[in-house]
């Protein structure tokens, strides 16, 4: 229950961070990816800020034996760069450029009650299910 409350608060903070930074404006995101045109590089500071902050806190936090509310750490430890990782990231990147939304900003933007983010999130969920169905046969993620 406490972990659920933490998740709620983290979700709220994350959405506020996305909104403040400009990530919930697809036009701005597409401007950031438009390197060959009227490039708007400001969004690079979202990643730089988040990474700078978390690179420090990650080191400090991981010195603990365990998290405060859970028994164990659940941090991915896989290190190999696989074809599925690269191909999946290519497809994600194409979709990101096409719509201007990545998953977090898309869900946050549903609060506008505009049709576009709802359509995007609906088809994103279908895309997730499609990959899982396909992966049952192909086992790409093994």
């Amino acid at each position: 229950m406490k972990q659920g409350l933490v998740a709620l608060v983290v979700g709220f903070m994350f959405a506020v961070g996305l909104g403040v930074s400009g990530m919930t404006q697809p036009e701005k995101v597409i401007g950031f990816l438009n390197v060959s045109g009227a490039w708007d590089p400001s969004l690079i500071f979202v990643m730089l800020g988040a990474i700078a902050f978390h690179a420090v806190t990650y080191k400090v936090i991981r010195k603990r034996k365990s998290p405060l509310l859970a028994m164990n750490w659940q941090v991915p430890s896989k290190r190999e760069v696989t074809p599925a990782l690269i191909l999946g990231s290519v497809l994600f990147g194409i979709g990101w450029g096409l719509g201007g939304y990545c998953p977090g900003p898309a869900v946050t933007s549903m609060a506008s009650f505009d049709f576009q983010p709802w359509l995007f999130v609906g088809s994103m969920l279908i895309g997730m299910v499609m990959f899982k169905q396909l992966d049952r046969k192909l086992k790409l993620q093994k």
Binding site: A15, G49, G88, W96
Partner: protein
Amino acid sequence: MSIEWIHALIGGLIIGAAVSVMLLMNGRVTGISGIINGAISPQKGDTAWRLLFIAGLLLGGLALRSLNPEILGSSPHSNPMITLVAGLLVGFGTIMGSGCTSGHGVCGISRFSPRSLAATITFMGAGVLSVYLLRSAGVLP
């Protein structure tokens, strides 16, 4: 520095703080595509926190909207087919590639994961290429 860069930096720091709280308290990575994916394929005892995280995002969205409705923008095109295909690609690609901007781009790079670095360079490059091709094809202005 223009004000937009400062907003981006402050927003980034808030995101960095959010993912730090998740790690310190729950011991988890804040990878949004993974959290959503786990929420739609429920496993006992592993669903409630995911739904609450998503609820937090939506509440945050509502708070932003009440401050200024323009914070939640829309794409420069209004073609629903483009949005549909974009969503399918993002959903399919993030699960195939084990993460998105949050899981790989923020959490993964912060712990110097070679997988996340490779994924982030790849999806950013693909995003740049995608926008270039869409502008060449006249789909995006």
